[in-house]
Amino acid sequence: MAEHYSSFSSEDTRWLLQRVTAVFLVGVLAFHFMLLHFVHHAAEITLAGTTARMSQPGYFVTMVLFLIAATFHGVNGVYNALVNQGISGTPRTVIKYGLTIASVLLIAQGIRVAWVMTGGNLI
């Protein structure tokens, strides 16, 4: 009797990923904030310092994962919010692809920046 509801099997995967990324982000975001606002004050940040941090492979990987997780969590959240507002049909498809493209661009740009920040010193 539920035939008129189209099945959307990725929904529970997205729901779960949203939670998993949330847990990851809570930890990393706290670390990020502490490091860049309390340990190093934002005003004192220079590319040299950034490069020093980014050159550590662990830090680099964490930041890239941080970026990917945050982008997924944020963009998926935005998409859910819009769906809950009742967006459906073509606008919904457009938004879905629009958001996907934006995510990919953001992640690509982020990784590119991170790579530049290593200054080629990544060990």
């Binding site: 809570v26 004192e44 944020g74 959240g77 919010a81 009742g86 953001l106």
Partner: protein, 129 residues
């Protein structure tokens, strides 16, 4: 969420004031979420100045940091992020079926802790100005 029926001015009569804790939590979570995703894009854009070299990067960052408004916005950003994190933790517990009876209390607690952290961080953010 569109109204299926227009009750005119009567429909909107006092609705917002009658929201319960859980609904406010939802509204604030959405709001802070939007702010954070907006910030994420901006943040990457700002950091992208690193591609144009050290001078540009350092100049941009220090230029921004020298603006009082930016410092205040940072406090706001912290508050937004802290709330989103705390309420997110609350929601994770709800997803696990824990503490559902205290869902309103945990929301109020998130608000209080957010406020405390935001106020407590003011000296750090505005310091060295």
């Amino acid at each position: 969420m569109s109204q299926s029926y227009d009750r005119g001015h009567i429909e909107s009569f006092g609705r917002w004031t009658e929201f319960s804790a859980g609904m406010w939590a939802w509204v604030l979570h959405k709001f802070t979420g939007w702010v954070l995703i907006g910030y994420l894009f901006t943040h990457i854009a700002v950091l992208s100045t690193a591609i144009q070299g050290e001078t540009m990067y350092n100049g941009t960052l220090q230029g921004l940091e020298s603006l009082l408004i930016v410092r205040f916005m940072e406090v706001g950003l912290l508050a937004v992020a802290v709330f989103h994190i705390l309420n997110g933790l609350r929601l994770l517990f709800v997803d696990l079926g824990l503490g559902l009876d205290a869902q309103d209390k945990s929301f109020y607690a998130s608000l209080v802790v957010t406020g405390a952290i935001a106020i407590g961080s003011i000296p750090t953010f505005l310091g060295g100005f």
